[in-house]
Subunit: 307 residues, 2 copies
DNA sequence: GTCAACGTTTTGTCCAGGACAAAATGAACA
DNA sequence: TGTTCATTTTGTCCTGGACAAAACGTTGAC
C-alpha cells in the first residue's frame, strides 16, 4: 500500500516494474525459470531487488527490445552479454561538445546549458543543429542514464530544454500552406516525444507542413486523422526501447488501414534490420533520412507540387 | 501475448488496467469480494470486460480519487452513485467560445482552431487567455472525451496545439534573472502536462523564473533539483484523476525532504477539501491562485526582491 | 538457394485463492 | 474537543499451475 518503499536495500517488485517496464508476472516467472533475477526478501517475505540486479534487468530489456530472446540472453555469460550490448554503441566517438554539455547538465546549470545549445543552434542552423548536436547528445544522455551517471530529474531537465528550443524554432518556420502534409506521432507504449520534434525540425525547413499528435495515439485514430486531415504522409517515431516485433505488427496493421495514396514512414534505427518490406512503407534509419525521403516523395508526386 | 485483443465483446484484464488505471490484482479481488465487476469469460477462460462495466469502473475510479472508499461505493445503489458523480460537474455553464472551438476540433480543422485560439490570445493577453479560454476549454474537452464525443486523436491534436502556443508565448516573456525561481513538475503517475504550462503562463508574466521538469519526476529528484538549482518554490500540478490520498502522502514526504526556506505549492482543485495543513505547503485551488500565491510570497520575502 | 509447411520449444500472461500490513474507521476515554 | 486503541477494510504480494501465441528449426519442393 505504500508506493515509495524505496529503502536503500532495493526496490519492491512494483517499483521495478515501473522502472524497467517488465511486468510483475514476467519478473516472477523469470526468477522461477532462469534463476534470475534473484531478489532479496524483506521482513515480510516480499521481493526486494538490489540496484545491481535492476541495472542488469535494464540491459536485458534493451537486448530484448532489439529482438533477442531471453533464452539466449540468460544462457550467455558475462562477456558475451557485454559484447552484445557494446555492439551498437561505440559506432561514434563521444563528440567534444557533448562532454561539456553533459557536464553542465550534471551540475544542473540549466541556464548555461541553454545558452550553449542556443549558440550552436544559431551557428549551425536548425537541421545541422539536430543532426550534429542533438542526436549525439541524445545518445550520450541515454548512455549516461543507463550507467546511472545522471538522474531522472536531470534527464527531464534536458528533455524540457530541448523541447522548448525545438518547438520555438519550428514554430518560427511554420508555413501552413505547403506540401506535403505530414502527420507525426508515436504508437501507444511509446512515450518518447523528442524524436517527433527532431523530425519536425528536419522537415519544416524543407517546406513540409507538419502536424504532431504527440505520443501514444491509438492506431485507429492515426488512420482516421490522417484521412480526414488530408495528409500525404504519416510518420511514426520509435525509440530504441520499443519492441521491434510489436512495431512491425502495428505498422502492417496501420498500412492496411491507410489508403494507398498516403505514405507511411517509420523512424527508428533498430527497426531496419530484418524488417518486413511493405508497399508504401519506408523505414528511416537516421533522422537525416527524413530529408531524403521527403525529396523522393516530391519527385514521385511532381504533379501535385504546385498547390 | 497479443496486445490488441480488442474484440467487440470486451477488453482483456490487461487492457482494462491500462484504461482505468486499476491494477489487475485489484480488479480480481474486487470481483471476489464485492461481486463487481463480473466479466464474461472468453473461450480460454480469461476475463472479458464488457464496455458497460468498464465505463462504471471509470466512474468508480473517479470517486475513489476524490477520497471515497470502495465499501461505500459498492454498497450504494444506482441513484446515489449518480448523485455523487454529478455533485461537482455542473458548476459552470459551457461558455460560448468553447462550443465553436470544440466544433472545429471535431471537424479536425486544426488550422482554423489555431487561428481562433491565437486571436483570443492576442486579444486577451496571456493570463486572461489561460483563465478565460483555456481553463473552460479544457473542462469541455475533458467532458466531451468522457462522453465519447471526441476521439483520443482529436484530444491529442488539441493538446499539442495548445502546448505549442503556450510554450511560445512563455518563451517570449522569459527573463532568466528574476525572482522567485520556481520549479514546476508533476509526481510519478501524473501525466498531465498542460497544467504545468498553464501555471508557467500565469507566473512568467509576473516576472517569476520558471523551470519545468515535465511530468513524472521522482520525489527524490524533485528535492535534489530544487536544492541544487537554488529554487525558491516547488510547484506541483495534479489533475482530477490523481488519487488525493496519494498526493497528500507524497506532498508530506516531499515537504520533509525540502529545506524550510523552499515553499511548496500543490495545484489541484480536488486536493483542497480536507487537506492536511503543513507548514510551507500551500494548496492552489484554481490556476488563478498561482498569481496571488506569488504575491504573498513576495510580501513575505521583501528583503531578497532586489536580486 | 529460396520459400512454404509443419512439428517443437520457448515465453508472456492469466488464473485461483491465500496471506498480510497499512490505512481507515469507530469506540472508549480523558 | 481531541487522543488512544481495537477492529475492519482494502490494496498488493505470494505460490504454483496452465495455456495459447510466437519463435524456432527441420523438412521437403521448386
Amino acid at each position: 500500500m505504500n508506493n515509495t518503499p524505496e529503502f536503500q536495500e532495493g526496490l519492491s517488485i512494483a517499483a521495478v516494474e515501473r522502472d524497467t517496464g517488465l511486468l510483475k508476472d514476467t519478473l516472477r516467472v523469470w526468477e522461477r525459470r532462469y534463476g534470475f533475477p534473484q531478489p532479496l526478501r524483506d521482513a515480510n517475505g516480499e521481493r526486494l531487488y538490489p540496484p545491481a540486479q535492476i541495472a542488469r534487468l535494464r540491459q536485458i530489456k534493451r537486448l530484448m527490445d532489439q529482438g533477442m530472446r531471453p533464452g539466449k540472453i540468460f544462457a550467455a555469460d558475462e562477456a558475451t552479454l557485454a559484447a552484445w550490448l557494446g555492439k551498437d554503441a561505440p559506432s561514434t566517438e563521444p563528440p567534444p561538445h557533448c562532454r561539456s554539455m553533459i557536464d553542465l547538465l550534471q551540475q544542473q546549470r540549466s541556464e548555461a546549458l541553454r545558452q550553449s545549445l542556443q549558440q550552436n543552434l544559431l551557428k549551425l542552423g536548425l537541421q545541422r543543429f539536430v543532426t550534429e548536436i542533438v542526436v549525439p547528445l541524445n545518445i550520450e544522455v541515454g548512455l549516461a542514464w543507463l550507467r546511472g551517471d545522471i538522474t531522472v530529474g536531470e534527464e527531464h531537465l534536458y528533455s524540457e530544454l530541448l523541447q522548448n528550443m525545438l518547438r520555438n524554432a519550428v514554430h518560427a518556420l511554420r508555413n501552413p500552406a505547403g506540401r506535403p502534409r505530414i502527420l507525426l506521432t508515436t504508437l501507444p507504449d511509446e512515450l518518447h516525444s523528442l524524436g517527433l520534434l527532431m523530425a519536425e525540425a528536419m522537415l519544416v525547413p524543407e517546406g513540409a507542413v507538419c502536424t504532431s499528435l504527440g505520443t501514444q495515439t491509438p492506431l485507429g485514430d492515426i488512420a482516421s486523422t490522417a484521412m480526414s486531415g488530408e495528409f500525404d504522409i504519416v510518420a511514426l517515431s520509435f525509440s530504441a526501447n520499443y519492441p521491434a516485433r510489436q512495431a512491425w505488427n502495428n505498422l502492417a496493421e496501420l498500412r492496411r488501414q491507410l489508403p494507398a495514396h498516403i505514405t507511411l514512414w517509420a523512424g527508428g534505427r533498430h527497426l531496419c534490420e530484418r524488417a518486413p518490406a511493405l508497399d508504401g512503407l519506408h523505414y528511416l534509419k537516421e533522422i537525416a533520412d527524413a530529408v531524403s525521403a521527403l525529396e523522393s516523395w516530391r519527385t514521385q508526386h511532381q504533379t501535385d507540387q504546385s498547390s
